[in-house]
């Protein structure tokens, strides 16, 4: 059984921080589709449209019938582990830092055999449940998990490499004034975060939930304004070296499209928080996090942004807001590539309209802050790069994958 990980001791200032090496990065183009599925938390394999055969590794043609008409589909995740090894010596710099490393051969119920990471609680031979996770290099890898949950399962060192679990980690939540920010803080405390730093913009303005927020033992609040470069740099100077996970819950939302919008100032305010705020965060905290991507149990693990699903397509009633979301998404894509150097995950939690003052005229279903908080924790614990919280976000995501142009027309109708 997995030993529960313990809260790491304070860092030895004489020790060199372990450099963040990455696992092998190169993949064929075909294999990237598995990463795309894994980024959404799905275990997908290729299936031949002509003969129905499942196949692995990723191919460009079916080994049963030579058809090139292949599709990635959610695959049955059961299998039988038939062999195992523990790698103790490797020439790869990433794995060298992490041996011993357990690896298995699993015969999938759907056919193919898979070389995969092997959870410490799996007995060989035996039944396993397969999961595809993004590794530190952002590529999908398959891991065999115990068929039934085991105690402390998430603490398995190989699995922890594939997630950004908040357990024992120190987390910054950027907007403690909002209900979403407060719900996320609460969820992090419950998920075992060692410390939660909470940014409060314009602390001289009172806000609901303040007392409850400050009552948590492991929560520290800081004056912190995403629109103020100095403020962001100051906080990074103070806690940047021990921020393991950064969660941006800030979102400046005002109704209005381009023609019906109140004007440039509101648009600028929105962009300043949603887009440039994200940039300030990334520039102030990113380099430190990248440098600490392999810093032990509480290494820097994730930069997570909670953003509107209308990043995918504009909803004209909130046209400017959608535009900021799209810019935000684009920034995250850039940042994801840049943060990869440190093995730090950049995660997006896309939400539908939140139940708040600004979205009164928006018809239900809406997302409650508690749901978002739950999705944030699930994303971190599951290592899921893109998650969609609430019915509207899931609906928009589905339509987006089907046809982005159709979605544009639907939202703009």
């Amino acid at each position: 059984m997995t030993d529960p990980i313990v809260r790491p001791p304070k860092k030895d200032p004489q020790k060199v921080t372990r450099p963040p090496e990455l696992p092998p990065l190169q993949r064929s183009r075909a294999a990237l589709a598995m990463s795309a599925a894994a980024s959404r938390g799905a275990f997908e394999l290729q299936c031949c449209k002509a003969c129905g055969a499942w196949m692995y590794p990723a191919r460009d043609a079916c080994p049963e019938c030579l058809s090139v008409d292949l599709a990635w589909k959610p695959a049955p995740d059961g299998g039988e582990v038939i062999a195992e090894t523990t790698i103790r010596t490797t020439v790869d710099l990433y794995f060298r830092q992490r041996t011993p490393w357990r690896v298995a051969m699993v015969k999938l119920d759907c056919g193919p055999s898979v070389v995969c990471h092997l959870h410490g609680d799996v007995e060989v031979p035996g039944r396993v449940r397969m999961t595809a996770q993004l590794d530190k290099g952002g590529n999908a890898v398959i891991m065999a998990l115990p068929a039934k949950r085991t105690p402390n399962m998430a603490d398995d060192p190989e699995l922890r490499e594939l997630t950004a679990s908040p357990k024992h980690r120190r987390v910054l939540v950027t907007d403690g004034r909002s209900a979403v920010g407060q719900a996320v803080v609460e969820a992090l405390v419950n998920a075992g975060a060692a410390l939660v730093f909470v940014g409060i913009a314009e602390p001289w303005k009172p806000y609901p939930g303040e007392d409850r927020l400050k009552a948590h033992e492991n929560v520290q609040t800081f004056a912190f304004d995403l629109t103020d470069t100095t403020s962001v740099q100051d906080l990074a100077g103070e806690i940047g070296g021990k921020t393991d996970i950064l969660i941006n819950t800030a979102d400046h939302v005002r109704p209005g499209g381009i023609l019906s919008a109140p004007g440039m100032i509101t648009a600028k305010d929105s962009f300043d928080v949603n887009v440039f705020g994200l940039q300030r965060l990334a520039q102030a905290f990113g380099p430190g996090m990248v440098g600490r991507g392999a810093d032990g149990t509480n290494s820097a693990a994730a930069f997570l942004d909670v953003l509107p699903v209308y990043a995918l397509a504009n909803t004209p009633d909130f046209g400017i807001h959608s535009a900021t979301a799209a810019a935000r998404l684009s920034m995250l894509q850039c940042l994801r590539s840049e943060m990869r150097a440190g093995g730090v995950r950049v995660m997006s939690v896309f939400t539908g309209p939140i139940e708040d003052d600004w979205r009164q005229p928006v018809p239900p279903p809406k997302v409650a802050p508690g749901q978002i908080a739950k999705a944030v924790i699930a994303a971190l614990e599951g290592g899921i790069e893109d998650s969609f919280v609430g019915d509207v976000a899931k609906d928009v995501a589905t339509r987006f994958r089907q046809d982005a142009k159709v979605l544009e027309r639907e939202l703009g109708a």
């Binding site: 314009e202 602390p203 001289w204 303005k205 009172p206 004056a223 304004d225 629109t227 103020d228 470069t229 100095t230 403020s231 005002r254 109140p262 004007g263 100032i265 509101t266 600028k268 305010d269 003052d357």
Partner: protein, 271 residues
């Protein structure tokens, strides 16, 4: 005092210069430092908002500019210690010379009267300065001359850095300010240049609930008078006898501007 008016300009300025240089005249700064964490006016969120001061570094002897340091700053016209021109308020929208690029220069350098209600403000965060207060003040200190700036000392600037400065609660801000009759009196009967405060606006924190709402803004600007707010250091000014320098930036069609407010005050007599 009358004799000085017989001096010509050269002599006047020369006397002033020697006073500033050699004693007798002190330059006092009435300005807060412009900084990103300086609070701004709070309006309901559905309205356009007052942009706080922001500063982005352009270069600092680095790759962005190896030999020089400079910043780009952005802010509302009404951020930090700032000047309100008549056009700032709807009541002053049709007045001539209502914007900061078009102000008579003699209004920008003028004598200043300081009304000290710091004790009253300490006792009552919603202290309202009324006509009755002014009449009582004049009783004691003599009449306010036409063409003066009037500054309302509350020592509120000393709350900067604490929540008390804005003193926001669910029912709005709580800070001292003038009642309508006080402003009516100063404008109509004393013909002042403008009215200045240490608080975030020229009106009381609860000024929107007065009649008319925001009486200082409404009456001052409706009559072509100016406002100064977020002033500091009023405790260094005498009740009268100082000269105020309050020249906003010359912004085309500007409604106001952050500025450096200076005062020349008689130095305490050297013993």
């Amino acid at each position: 005092m009358k004799e000085t008016t017989t001096m010509n300009g050269d002599a006047l300025l020369s006397a002033l210069a020697s006073g500033i240089r050699g004693g007798g005249v002190r330059v006092v700064d009435l300005t807060h430092t412009l900084a990103p964490d300086f609070p701004v006016m709070v309006l309901p969120p559905e309205f356009g908002q007052c942009q706080p001061f922001r500063m982005e570094e352009v270069s600092r002897y680095d790759a962005r500019g190896p030999g020089w340091y400079w910043n780009t700053i952005t802010m509302s016209e009404h951020a930090g210690t700032h000047f309100d021109a008549p056009a700032h308020w709807i009541s002053g929208r049709n007045l001539p010379a209502g914007t900061v690029d078009d102000l008579p220069l003699d209004r920008l350098v003028a004598p200043v009267v300081v009304l000290d209600y710091s004790a009253e403000s300490a006792a009552d965060e919603d202290f309202l300065l009324t006509r009755a207060h002014l009449e009582a003040w004049e009783e004691k200190n003599g009449a306010i001359e036409a063409g003066s700036w009037v500054l309302f000392r509350t020592d509120w600037s000393k709350h900067l850095g604490s929540d008390k400065y804005l003193n926001l609660r669910a029912d709005g801000a709580h800070s001292p300010g003038p009642a309508a009759d006080a402003i009516e009196f100063l404008v109509k009967e004393r013909d002042i240049i403008g009215f200045g405060t240490e608080t975030i606006g020229t009106d009381a924190g609860q000024g929107s609930h007065l009649e008319p709402p925001y009486p200082a803004h409404f009456i001052l600007h409706g009559n072509g008078r100016y406002g100064l707010q977020c002033l500091a250091g009023l405790d260094q000014l005498p009740a009268r006898g100082a000269i105020l320098f309050a020249a906003p930036l010359k912004i085309r069609h500007g409604s106001g501007s952050p500025l450096r407010v200076l005062a020349l005050v008689p130095a305490p007599d050297v013993v």
